[in-house]
């Protein structure tokens, strides 16, 4: 009887061990996985980066392990340009520059102007320069070699998202800190002269921007979360005019090959949805492309071009540690990972 009990306990222990994530090879070069930006919460200093390997390995302290310190407060964006990764940290008002291969930190760029935090939000790149939207009404230009802010381009109120199309930069001016009188414009910046050449009225509280394969820009106007609903607007980047407007519940757009994934989390009903949109035909191909109705709070969506799979995060009500789920392009869940607080952005490694 004792022997049977011992065998049973051993089986239990072995099975538990099997379920545990594999140890994470954080030394050397990162490959075959995804870095997840977990935003953390305001005034908690708990922004973190999680590494989720294709082999099932998970580390929720990637940046802290590599740098020996924390990223700071409320990370908002992460992107790679060349051999460097840039992490935009909003409340700490910094841009962390990291070696893309080893993930060792290179430099922390302080984003303050005259002792006032600029509150950086999002980043994009063009011709050796990084462009960072700052809530103080500017887009900062960072030289990706010297890693210094070399220019400030004035735009609208509380610029949020940005995207490059051709030699122009499109910046959404949210006006989010002037609630309820928010901004409704998209600034167009000529990247040769780094000056704003036009403002396009797109809709209340514009946020995320994205460029399709034809070079047109799509922007999400989030509305006022009450009487004015969210919508998606298409901009012809030759004429810089609004050419189409889509009245649909939308909080984020993610590019998946030549299609868009339209994600939405309705704060009032708590319902999540993920639709597939064809920007060539300008139609929603599938309004429920992936069944995310079981999500508590759909937050981030990413497409891994190396594995042709989707990564979708559940922020679990914004106050609990989140989950990242990997789906095949056919909508089958492949894996899941328990990560940090408010997982929102993904950076994929082949």
């Amino acid at each position: 009887m004792r022997l049977i009990s011992l065998v049973f306990v051993l089986i239990l222990v072995v099975s538990c061990i099997k379920d545990k994530p594999k140890p994470v090879p954080l030394s050397g070069v990162l490959s075959n996985g995804v870095v997840v930006l977990c935003e953390g919460l305001f005034q908690q200093n708990n922004t973190s980066l999680s590494w989720v390997g294709n082999d099932g390995s998970i580390s929720n302290t990637l940046f802290a392990t590599k740098s020996g310190r924390q990223l700071g407060d409320t990370g908002n964006d992460i992107k790679r340009y060349g051999a460097k990764v840039y992490v935009v940290v909003n409340v700490s008002s910094t841009v962390e520059v990291i070696d893309a291969n080893t993930f060792n930190p290179i430099k922390q760029i302080s984003m303050q102007s005259g002792g006032v935090p600029k509150q950086p939000r999002s980043i994009d790149f063009y011709n050796g320069k990084a462009y960072v939207t700052c809530y103080d009404g500017y887009v900062d230009v960072i030289d990706t070699v010297s890693l210094a802010v070399i220019e400030r381009i004035p735009v609208g109120l509380n610029p949020e998202g940005l995207t490059v199309s051709g030699s122009k930069l499109y910046v959404s001016n949210s006006g989010g800190l002037n609630t309820p009188v928010m901004d409704s414009t998209l600034s167009v910046i000529d990247l040769n002269s780094n000056t704003e050449i036009q403002k396009i009225t797109v809709g209340l509280n514009p946020g995320r921007c994205i460029t399709d394969d034809e070079g047109d820009v799509y922007v999400v106007a989030r509305g006022d979360y009450a009487g004015v609903s969210s919508k998606m607007i298409r901009i012809n980047t030759v004429s810089d005019n609004v050419v189409n407007s889509f009245d649909l519940g939308v909080s984020g757009i993610t590019k998946m090959n030549d299609k868009f994934l339209i994600s939405n989390y309705d704060f009032s009903s708590g319902q999540s949805s993920l639709a597939l949109f064809d920007p060539v035909l300008d139609v929603v191909v599938n309004s429920s492309y992936i069944d995310v109705s079981g999500f508590t709070t759909l937050y981030g969506v990413g497409f891994n071009p190396y594995t042709n799979t989707l990564f979708i995060s559940d922020a679990m009500g914004f106050t609990n540690s989140g989950y990242v789920y990997e789906y095949s392009s056919l909508g089958t869940q492949i894996s899941s990972a328990h990560v940090g607080l408010n997982p929102s952005k993904f950076l994929f490694y082949e």
Binding site: Q44, G68, V91, S92, S93, G175, L177, Y225, G317, L341
Partner: protein, 658 residues
């Protein structure tokens, strides 16, 4: 069936044991029956479960504010955002801070805007006595709102009470770290029939305290910025003894100018917000006694104006400059009547309050809050049974538009307290149902407020004992409570529009199970040595029981420690003494999910003071006190990212005439 049999058996054994115990008390019953009612009441009051801190304690502890004192209460959980004047609140036994009421000289302090009193802005220099009470408060003449709240804190000040001395003077001057200076003087002239008094105080601090914090592997030693503080408090009071009662009237003014250092944000040390607070309070209190009837009427009017200024906010105006004016008019009647072994008590209270904001988008709420309460007490020689039923009616309207709201609640309270069962032993069992209305901020604050909020309901059950031993040279006082609480419709902030716009919702249910143990021991020797030990331990398991599928189900609620220990040791030789205060708080969680990433380390604080009293004649004394706070230079925080000061010093001189 077997379970029922076991329960019945346990009940039978309990009753048999109780009967044996009662038989053993027959002799004492006969003696007790001879004790008249008022003596009996006095005994009950004396052996209360309340925590009492008197002026002597306050002088040796040199607390910065009332919050510093109340953290010593068993079951209390202090939340402090740091710095002099910074927001400090106390929640009792897992209930939110809004469930507690604060009463100064018998008159409640009201703030319908926040629903709670900032304990960091209440001065301590004029406090003669501070009483913390949970459960039955045997002073039935206190305002009804305090009598029926989850817990209450009572402050008695020097300048607003009758005394036996014709002239009373109190003065206190201090100097401390971070540029802290303070001065207080209070004078009371109290001939036989009346008194008049006046006081004034000023406190200033640069607040640039050093703190240490560990960011990953890197210890950082920083200095708090934008933390200047200046306050002025002053007031006049008067009272007259009438044939069958007393009448008092007073006016207090408070003026505070403070900078707000905000949270410690990694890599971003900027802070430039400011807060100005001006408060005027006029109060009057009439007590009347006729035979066995005691009655009391009070009125209280408060205007509190707060100006919040953020000069670098990134909106169109480039700043936020909002002024909030909260007006409260409050009055009540209480009575108590003895009938041999019975007594009846009750009262009504009415509060009218509104909020005016210089922001056209902000609501203009007005609230009428009516309280009514009726209770009876039966004094049996063996026990004392108290029952109380209260009702509250709240009417609210936004003068900017919107539907008016009406809320009605009935709340019971029941207490059974035994007379001494053995030598100095007393048992108590009580149940209280209470609720708190949402504050104006929770209901109407732009973007955050939710006009559909329901009141937060609380149920409390408490079982406790008190054991008092007294000898010629020693006093020994042991108190213990076990409590179970349930809160429903808990008001919490959740993101409802986007990640940055959080709004108040009734989404929570919590259960609390806990226990308190409090020990007071005093020992005096013949050769002028005295030893005093005050210690208490609180265990609180307050868990989320809202949704079984939630990751926080059965997790400890954020910022409530499971273990809290207070230990004060005083050693006196003649008029010289040393006092060491220890305060231990176990780990807490910054969010409701109990995971490593949310852990906030527990901490141990040691404060030490040395004091000597110089007597000048029979009526004057001068006390010199040296104080070291956080003597071990612990790095700690009550709230994540709000780091508290390291080691700091103060020296003060207190003068008392009578």
């Amino acid at each position: 069936m077997r379970r029922f049999y076991r329960m019945a058996k346990c009940l039978y054994i309990f009753i048999v044991l109780l009967c044996f115990h009662v038989r053993g008390q027959v002799d004492s019953i006969q003696i007790i029956r001879q004790v008249n009612v008022s003596t009996f009441m006095a005994l009950l009051k004396e052996k209360s479960y309340n925590l009492v801190i008197d002026r002597e304690d306050i002088e040796t502890l040199q607390p910065t504010d009332i919050g510093d004192l109340l953290r010593k209460t068993p079951g209390a959980n202090l939340k402090s955002y740091g710095g002099l004047g910074g927001l400090k609140t106390i929640s009792m036994r897992g209930l939110g801070a809004n469930h507690s009421s604060m009463v100064v000289d018998g008159v409640p302090l009201n703030n319908s805007q926040t629903g709670q009193v900032n304990l960091g802005q209440l001065i301590v220099d004029n406090v003669e006595q501070l009483t913390s009470s949970i459960g039955l408060n045997s002073n039935f003449l206190i305002p009804v709102s305090a009598q029926i709240s989850g817990s209450n804190f009572m402050i008695k000040t020097m300048e607003n009470s009758f005394s036996s001395d014709t002239l009373t003077i109190r003065a206190n001057f201090g100097y401390g770290s971070f540029g802290q200076t303070k001065g207080y003087i209070g004078v009371k002239f109290n001939p036989n029939k009346f008194f008049v008094s006046a006081f004034g105080s000023r406190q200033q601090a640069e607040g640039n305290y050093n703190y240490s914090i560990v960011n990953g592997c890197f210890p950082l030693n920083e200095t708090r910025k934008n933390n200047n503080y200046l306050d002025h408090n002053y007031g006049v009071s008067g009272g007259v003894k009438l044939k069958k009662g007393t009448w008092k009237i007073g006016y207090h003014r408070k003026s505070i100018r403070q900078e707000l250092p905000g949270a410690v944000i990694y890599y971003n040390e900027t802070a430039d917000e400011k807060l100005e607070t001006d408060s005027d309070r006029l109060f009057t209190d009439f007590k009347w006694r006729a035979n066995k009837l005691y009655a009391r009427v009070f009125f209280n009017g408060t205007i509190e104006k707060q100006r919040y200024f953020d000069p670098t906010y990134l909106n169109v105006a480039g700043q936020i400059d909002n002024t909030y004016t909260n007006r409260n008019l409050n009055g009540g009647v209480s009575f108590m009547r003895y009938f041999r072994q019975w007594s009846m008590f009750g009262g009504v209270e009415e509060t009218v309050s509104d909020l005016v904001v210089n922001d056209s988008l902000f609501a203009k709420p007005i609230r009428l809050h009516t309280y009514a309460m009726l209770g009876v007490r039966y004094n049996h020689p063996l026990f004392c049974l108290t029952g109380q039923a209260s009702s509250q009616y709240v009417y609210e309207q936004d003068k900017n538009g919107g539907d008016s709201k009406e809320r009605v609640r009935f709340n019971p309270f029941l207490s059974l307290k035994t007379r001494e069962l053995g030598e100095g032993l007393q048992l108590e069992l009580w149940y209280r149902n209470s609720f708190r209305v949402p504050s104006f901020n929770e209901l109407y604050y732009t973007n955050i407020g939710n006009v559909n909020l329901l009141p937060e309901d609380a149920h409390q059950i408490n079982m406790g004992f008190l054991w008092l031993l007294q000898g010629d040279k020693f006093n020994f006082d042991l108190k213990s409570n076990i409590f179970v609480n349930h809160v429903k419709n808990k008001i919490v902030a959740v993101p409802t529009k986007n990640l940055f716009i959080w709004s108040m919702q009734n989404v929570g249910r919590t259960n609390t199970f806990g226990g308190e143990l409090k020990l007071e021991a005093k020992y005096k020797t013949r050769n002028h040595w005295a030893f005093v030990l005050n210690t208490n331990y609180t265990y609180q398991k307050t868990v989320d029981v809202t949704d079984p599928s939630s990751p926080t189900y059965l997790h400890q609620i954020a910022y409530i420690p499971e273990h809290t220990v207070n230990t004060d040791l005083t050693l006196m030789f003649r008029r010289t003494g040393v006092r060491i205060s220890n305060y231990v708080v176990s780990k807490r969680y910054a969010l409701n999910e109990n995971i490593l990433a949310n852990e906030l380390e527990g901490f141990f604080l040691m404060d030490a003071s040395i004091f000597h009293t110089f007597r000048v004649g029979s009526s004057q004394s001068l006390k010199l006190i040296g104080n070291v706070k956080n003597a071990l230079n612990s790095s700690y925080a009550y709230i994540r990212s709000y780091i508290m000061p390291g080691i700091n010093y103060s020296i003060s001189l207190s003068y008392a005439f009578n």
